[in-house]
Symmetry: C2
Subunit: 162 residues, 2 copies
């Protein structure tokens, strides 16, 4: 995005066709959004972009991690006090349950051009990983064990303290 002209359309990628604009859809749970990445395609195949015009990154990542070859039934099962997370299932599929203490929602990430933005204080759990699932997580902060709320009781107590 041109910072001097934020309404300008993002530049095209030379030699490729835009097949889908980016979009952001609120999910009604603690500020969570489903982000559809901007998608280009040409004879070499598709390319999905985040950080351009209609599909900006919701925060600047300071840390990334990858979850793969999942063997347990559930991962996640925590909330963060201040850290934002962005989840992309770059291959395969995974189901994610998000809960803000009043509303909850379950969503399946099964396309590499879908991303789920989870703000702080949202409890998240992942299950139903396909055997080939690779889940990429971008985080807004470096790792800090004190930022994790690992029990639902501690999370609910922290929510009540807001």
């Amino acid at each position: 995005m041109d910072p001097l002209n934020p309404a300008a359309p993002p530049p095209a990628i030379p030699g490729s066709d835009l097949i889908h604009k980016g979009s952001t859809t609120p999910l009604g749970v603690g500020g969570c959004h489903l982000i559809t990445l901007r998608q280009h395609s040409d004879h070499r195949g598709p390319l999905a972009v985040l950080g351009q015009g209609d599909a900006p990154l919701p925060f600047t990542p300071q840390r990334i991690f990858l979850v793969h070859h999942v063997t347990g039934p559930v991962r996640g099962e925590h909330a963060h006090r201040i850290c934002h997370q962005l989840l992309l299932c770059t291959h395969g599929s995974v189901r994610i349950r998000i809960d803000d203490g009043r509303h909850h929602h379950t969503i399946t990430l099964n396309q590499p051009h879908l991303a789920l933005h989870i703000p702080p204080m949202v409890w998240a759990e992942q299950d139903q990983h396909s055997p080939d699932a690779s889940l990429l997580v971008l985080a807004s902060h470096l790792y800090d064990p004190a930022d994790y709320l690992r029990s639902r009781d501690a999370w609910l107590a922290a929510l009540g303290a807001d």
Copy 2:
């Protein structure tokens, strides 16, 4: 990493075992490095981290993109004037050729805990994508068509102008 004590070991992830420390290996081509992500594992499976202690992010990403379902023989085939890139093959495998005008090297990314840091002015090409390859690229800058050197002649001329 604790910014007040950069020599401190990174904190452990509760309930998981460290199975491999992070490391960074220079490849002798234009400042390119192969980064091995820090890897943790527990009963739920492995988790690979970048942006923590012994495996820092080499730059702050401003943009990410994903290449998948590749149908052409070669992708990449350009250099950047100022943009750094970090490539991770989160599923499947891809071969990458890097060239700084004097030295070149070919490397296969075939594990999700491997990342290739490509600094500016390095010509890079990708080929031999496995059918299930998902290639994630983190970029240090927003998209700017003027940052791309898309022909080898233009790249060599720009190298000579340094």
